[in-house]
Amino acid sequence: MGARGETWLWILQRATAAVLAGAVLVHLATLVYAVRQGLSAAAILARTEGNLAWLGFYLLFATAAALHAGIGLRTVLREATPWRGPSLDGAVLLLAVAIAAAGWRAAFGLFA
């Protein structure tokens, strides 16, 4: 990947980090609240079922996390192993898509 591409990946990593910082704080606050309320399926689903705001939040959260993890793993693999180039980029992209898909499945599961 050329200079421009790497620069954009760097920007994207910081941007997703910013999104994740906020999302993680919201997520942890939610967990604290949920645990205090008593952790049960009924309680959780009552909050999330049909709720577009929660859906939107979790979709964004999952996507940012998948991208951030993907870019991070790409860096680590390039430094720790001889693997680099388009094949690594493709593999990491596939992984990020898979993680995002799993996250979206969970998000829709809470919503539907």
Partner: protein, 238 residues
């Protein structure tokens, strides 16, 4: 303080071994004094570099007990625990012989990072007015004392893991030029220092800044390059 220093010195090229020498300990002694003693009295064939002997030229850089340093500015007392010293050539550069390394790639990367001043076209006959207290001039001045000794490059793990990485010294130099209002290289230099071989490969471990004998801060320079290249990319100028 023991009366004798037990010194292990790397002998050979990339394939070689540590050879032990016993050197008389002095009250006040630098590591360069030790190496000089070995070459003059014990092993005339020992290869090593030095020039000024007084901490100005950076030629005497070596790995002393695992840490890259200038041997002329390293007192034995500060580094020899139990009267033992281990001397190896600088890391991340091919060994020519014994304690001398091949620095051509180090300087080649300097060149690839556009680490040379390129005068702006059409400067005219007037002297360029450079405000000494401008943020840019201060940023440039903070990095221009680099004398290319290679200690930061030897200390850097990213250089070790990534052959193409330009390294802290070259990138530090590029940053001083990015901040030089008389320089005209502009976007071309930013393109040269962006990417996997450039500033974006740095993870801010800051071993470079820790070990720089002139207390320069290549990490800060590289951070500046990250900001400059990101800005250029966002404005479509990269």
């Amino acid at each position: 303080m023991t009366a004798t220093l037990h010194v292990s010195v790397w002998r050979g090229g990339a394939a070689g071994r540590l050879v032990a020498y016993d050197v008389p300990a002095q009250e006040s002694q630098t590591v360069l004094d030790v190496v000089t003693y070995i070459q003059r009295h014990l092993e005339p064939a020992l290869s090593y570099r030095f020039a000024c002997r007084v901490g100005m030229c950076g030629s005497c850089a070596m790995t002393v007990n695992g840490v890259p340093r200038w041997t002329c500015r390293t007192h034995v007392r500060r580094v020899a625990s139990g009267g033992r010293l281990e001397l190896r050539p600088l890391e991340n550069m091919p060994v020519i012989k014994d304690l001398a390394v091949d620095m051509s790639n180090f300087f080649g990367k300097w060149s690839r990072a556009h680490g040379a001043f390129a005068p702006m076209a059409g400067l005219g006959e007037e002297f360029a007015k450079v405000a000494p207290d401008s943020p840019e001039r201060q940023a440039a001045s903070a990095g221009i004392e680099c004398i290319g000794c290679g200690v930061c490059y030897a200390a850097c793990d990213v250089v070790r893991w990534n052959d193409a990485f330009l390294g802290p010294a070259a990138l530090n130099r590029a940053w001083t030029l990015v901040n030089d209002c008389r320089d005209g290289d502009g976007a071309a230099r930013l393109r040269a220092v962006a990417g996997d071989a450039g500033c974006h490969a740095c993870h801010s471990q800051q071993s470079c800044a820790l070990h720089c004998p002139k207390q320069l801060d290549p990490t800060a320079a590289i951070a500046g390059l990250k900001r400059a290249t990101a800005k250029a990319a966002l404005w479509g100028k990269l």
